[in-house]
Assembly symmetry: C2
DNA sequence: CTGCATCCAACACGATACTG
DNA sequence: CAGTATCGTGTTGGATGCAG
């Protein structure tokens, strides 16, 4: 594809990577649980227990952490219904939903290049004897 | 943009998040140095030393690691010029360049929501007394 | 200049136990 | 059910020194 990079200086991705608060998004997208939780919440509001069941392997601790952080950043809302037993519902906000699209991009890219990368990886590993 | 999510139960982000090798991409996008390096390489081939200067704060160890991993996955090429002193040049491959776009998405989103998230965060912190 | 190996501190994460 | 607190551990990442 884009071979022949005669002019390599024409890919203005960005000039500020760290300064623009990208780190926050990185941290979130790089976090296994965050992505999982957002994906689950994308299809509608969920209760705590429900999420823990849906997001396989997550510990109670990490789920709480993840939800708190998402809540703090205004990506999910936390609604407490004062019933017995207590019931808490988590739901994506508008901003939260917009992150959903971002995650979609991520997944699409990974699906697109998964095979190529896998092959490259095998070749490389082979060459390392 | 995509506001007005009246139907929350129809956001088919994805059905498999972990199974499809998304973790790999996550790891890479979540990695501070990887993103930085790719961004720097986006504007053209760079030498090792050059990268270390460009990517402020990276240790030699991490730069090597990062480059090796990128090389392994076929995202960058490593060309050795047998001169004295030795000269090694790193360059993004086609796949590598495509990741550039993904990173762009990331940065765009972060720029778009940076303010909102920041405000939400402050409010949340304030409420925590 | 480029790269690898070792040591060491920090932190993230999981498991567990306990409260409302 | 929902959430907090504590402890043990494994991985990450920086600093340093040495080699090609």
């Amino acid at each position: 594809m884009s071979a022949g990079h005669t002019d390599v200086t024409t890919d203005p991705v960005v000039s500020c990577a760290e300064e623009c608060g990208v780190r926050d998004v990185q941290d979130r997208l790089g976090d296994k649980w965050t992505v999982h939780v957002v994906v689950e919440l994308a299809s509608g509001p969920r209760r705590f227990r429900e999420l823990q069941r849906l997001v396989t392997g997550v510990s109670q601790r990490m789920l709480t952490f993840t939800l708190r952080r998402l809540e703090r950043d205004g990506l999910v809302t936390r609604t407490v219904y004062p019933t017995t037993p207590p019931q808490v519902e988590y739901e994506l906000t508008g901003t939260g939903h917009s992150m959903t699209h971002l995650i979609k991009q991520l997944i699409d890219w990974s699906l697109d290049h998964r095979a190529v990368i896998g092959r490259a990886r095998e070749e490389w590993d082979a060459k390392q004897t």
